[in-house]
């Protein structure tokens, strides 16, 4: 497809309320072809889970979306801007509207919970008074039910609490899209379930658009409107959880067994 046609197609999709449009995405590391002609569209308020085996390129995909990795080819349109083409300042503006929950939480060890939450606010050069900042921190912590941890260090928190604080840090800028990188990995099933419930609650409260990378079937079942199976670098199958569960293809079936 020519670039003009791709642009036209992306423009049409945006008019239909698409927040994120990925078209013909390629990414390789040496001879390891991770993403091969990957396509995906996300509408406002939708919650899409990308399901795939470990090492199938799920994390590479969302790192390309947020601009941490540069794709070899293809377009990633977020709010109508093609991520690989824009400059650093424009990318920062997009990033302020896109939350990213890291697999390892990525809380800053040397800072308290409050400083962790204030960091994205200050760094995006958003001009707000200290009172307002305190209110925003409080609100984000209330959303995840951990208001009492505000002056604690990340090392003093349990795994589940750390995940919640990382989610609070993501929420503080009121993002329109949240990207979750394996949100339940490393948590026990009960805590994992609590995190998924929290994600669904936040999704309803703020009407955010979510892209969730996971291989946890509980997460897929509870949090998804749509499931995309990423296999061999491609979007192998797409549908709702129930539709894919009925699918007879052995490669799809293996995820649901």
């Amino acid at each position: 497809m020519t670039q003009e046609k791709q642009l036209l197609q992306a423009g049409n999709l945006l008019q239909q309320g698409h927040m994120l449009v990925i078209s013909h995405l390629y990414k390789s590391f040496g001879n390891n072809h991770v993403l091969i002609d990957f396509n995906l569209e996300l509408k406002k308020g939708e919650s899409v889970v990308v399901l795939g085996k470990s090492g199938s390129g799920k994390s590479v995909l969302i790192k390309c979306i947020i601009g941490l990795l540069k794709p070899d080819q293809g377009r990633i349109e977020v709010f109508g801007e093609n991520i690989p083409d824009i400059n650093e300042d424009e990318l920062d503006q997009i990033r302020a509207k896109v939350g990213f929950l890291f697999q390892s939480n990525a809380l800053y060890d040397s800072m308290t919970v409050r400083e962790n939450l204030e960091f994205p606010l200050r760094r995006h050069w958003i001009q707000v008074a200290q009172d307002e900042v305190n209110k925003m921190v409080q609100e984000a912590l209330d959303d995840v039910g951990l208001a009492h941890t505000v002056d604690m260090m990340p090392a003093e928190l349990s795994g589940g609490m750390r995940k919640r604080i990382a989610l609070a840090r993501t929420l503080i800028l009121k993002p329109e899209i949240i990207l979750y990188d394996e949100p339940t990995t490393g948590l026990d099933p009960i805590t994992g379930k609590e995190i998924i419930e929290l994600m669904v609650e936040i999704q309803h409260k703020y009407n955010t658009t979510s892209l969730i990378i996971s291989h946890d079937m509980n997460c897929v079942k509870m949090a998804s409107n749509k499931v995309v199976i990423l296999l061999e670098g491609k979007c192998f199958a797409m549908g709702t959880y129930d539709q894919l569960k009925q699918n007879n293809d052995p490669k799809v079936k293996q995820f649901f067994e």
Binding site: A96, A106, Y108, D109, R123, W125
Partner: protein, 256 residues
């Protein structure tokens, strides 16, 4: 003739480190300047290293004086003890030992801190939060270390000479004024300035190596340990190499 694998790895590492240094100069001069973080790093790197530097410098001055005394007495030049110790400390021992202590404390801590931030995705999280992590983490640390080490060296030299004054007074009696007059009478401009200048390069080398090792850390927690360790080893070797180059350069310009 094919290049041996180890030489190839060494050259490629040296190339990467040179590119990393070039990136420091490129990013360091471009705005947004991270002034608050730079000041914080000056406090952490400079002020918090002071007790360790002071203790080692004091012991060094005292021990050096006590070790030199018997030979000086044998040659009948005991009265020259402050002059000899002063020159030794200011020209060579002060800057090099302080830099080595600095490499052990700051080089390893930068390597470990940045390494663990890398493997726990904290550096990526910074980038996503609208922060250039290279500027925020690397530029501030390298600048702080480059400016703080010369200050530590000067303070270390002074404390070391005070230790030496006490060392002189263990076996003999010398007044405070006489001791310092003898030290400064024998110190020339050419003794002080080159050694002060080379300590900027020592500080720069320690921080660049520590940041490079930490920033490019991989392979989980094992990689963090390796980054901290190799940061100290490589920066200690670099200190001696810079020292060697500095003495050659001062010699060429006739400052020796």
């Amino acid at each position: 003739m094919p290049i041996p694998k180890t030489s190839k790895a060494f050259l490629s590492e040296a190339g990467d480190m040179a590119r990393f240094t070039a990136k420091f100069f490129k990013q360091g001069f471009k705005p947004r300047y991270e002034v608050a973080e730079f000041m914080h790093q000056c406090f952490v790197i400079g002020y918090k290293s002071l007790p360790l530097v002071a203790l080692t410098a004091f012991i060094l001055g005292l021990v050096l004086t006590m070790q030199l005394r018997p030979s000086m007495v044998d040659y009948g030049v005991e009265s020259q003890l402050p002059a000899i110790v002063g020159i030794a400390i200011v020209r060579e021992i002060g800057p090099v030992i302080t830099a080595l202590i600095f490499a052990g404390k700051i080089g390893s801590s930068i390597g470990a801190e940045l390494g663990s931030m890398r493997v726990t995705e904290q550096i990526d999280a910074m980038e996503v939060s609208g922060t250039n992590p290279f500027k925020y983490l690397v530029v501030t640390r390298v600048l702080a270390a480059t400016l703080m080490l010369p200050v530590l060296v000067m303070l270390g030299d002074a404390i070391s000479l005070y230790g030496s004054y006490l060392g002189v007074n263990i076996r003999a009696t010398t007044s405070f004024n006489l001791y310092w007059t003898q030290v400064f009478d024998n110190l020339e401009f050419y003794d002080v300035v080159p050694s002060f200048l080379k300590s900027f390069f020592f500080g720069f080398a320690v921080a660049v190596v520590g940041c490079y090792k930490g920033y490019n850390s991989s392979k989980g927690t094992e990689g963090v340990g390796r980054s901290a360790n190799s940061a100290v080893v490589v920066s200690s070797v670099m200190i001696f190499v810079i020292d060697l180059l500095a003495v050659q350069i001062t010699d060429i310009f006739g400052f020796n």
